[in-house]
């Protein structure tokens, strides 16, 4: 059963619908810190948000956050590293957030309806590609993240 957000323009309402739909798909979900996101357990724990826009397209934003170890590289070195990741891989967006944590974002734009298959593939892809990057950059990320 597709998620149907036809004419839905309220992001909070859309996020609630998405959360309920994810539960129906069998995902383990729980409340996030706000009304505009929730936590979804895939291979990793994803913060899922949805920006509703019925006149353009809706977007699901899946974010994974890691604390940076206190004795890790300086912030500028992290910024160099995330830019290197961003320019090397066409997978997702890497950044250092305002709390100083390492953040990874995937974006799924869609029109009115979203199929379970596309969503599952999207989460599997996010899990898999992030795992690949973590493994390839174990030298930095293994020691640099908590």
């Amino acid at each position: 059963m597709d998620l149907d957000l036809t004419d839905v323009g309220d992001s909070e309402q859309a996020t609630r619908s998405l959360r309920e739909w994810c539960t129906q798909l069998g995902y383990r979900v729980k409340a996030g810190g706000t009304d505009i996101n929730f936590l979804l357990q895939g291979g990793r724990r994803w913060i899922i948000g949805l920006k509703a826009n019925p006149t353009e397209n809706h977007r699901i934003i899946a974010t994974c956050v890691f604390r940076i170890a206190p004795n890790s590289m300086e912030r500028d070195a992290w910024l160099r590293f995330v830019n290197q990741l961003n320019s090397s891989y066409n997978l997702c967006t890497f950044c250092v957030n305002t709390e100083g944590h390492f953040e990874i974002q995937y974006n799924l734009p869609f029109l009115d309806k979203l199929s379970p298959r596309l969503f599952r593939n999207f989460i599997n892809y996010a899990d898999g590609s992030l795992g690949m990057v973590m493994e390839r950059h174990e030298d930095v990320l293994g020691a640099g993240l908590q």
Binding site: N57, L79, N83, C92, C95, T98, Q105, N107, L108, P109
Partner: protein, 145 residues
Amino acid sequence: MTLQFDDENDEAQATAALAGWAEQLGFRLTRNEAGGRFTLHGRYNYSIWVAGTAGFRRIVCIANFAGCKNHRDPEGKLRFANKLNLDYNVSKVSFNSQGDLYFEFVLYVEASLTPSLWSTFFAKADDGITWVFGRHKDELAELID
């Protein structure tokens, strides 16, 4: 006129199918870039290719802007890219080793793509870049030519 990707298509064939379909929809493009990519010409030029396989394909679209050769603050440049990535989660922004600025947009599809999703996706990409350019005019004037 929905584009149906053939399950048997590899990435290069899927990219060629997308190019042909976009042309039929009236998009202006140049084919035969290295690696099978094509360039879609609109408000901005996007280098486009299809990655992935049957059932889950990623359409990767990159708008590239030549970096300013006289820029002398590489750390400031990285802080700026990071800020854009944090503040606006529509596209990915990065600088390559030559200092060029990249905006990258990704559209995920199953076996088919509708003209309305494709068109709204590009309109959103165009508007996103224009919005960033307007909002960060001063910083960008120093970073790109």
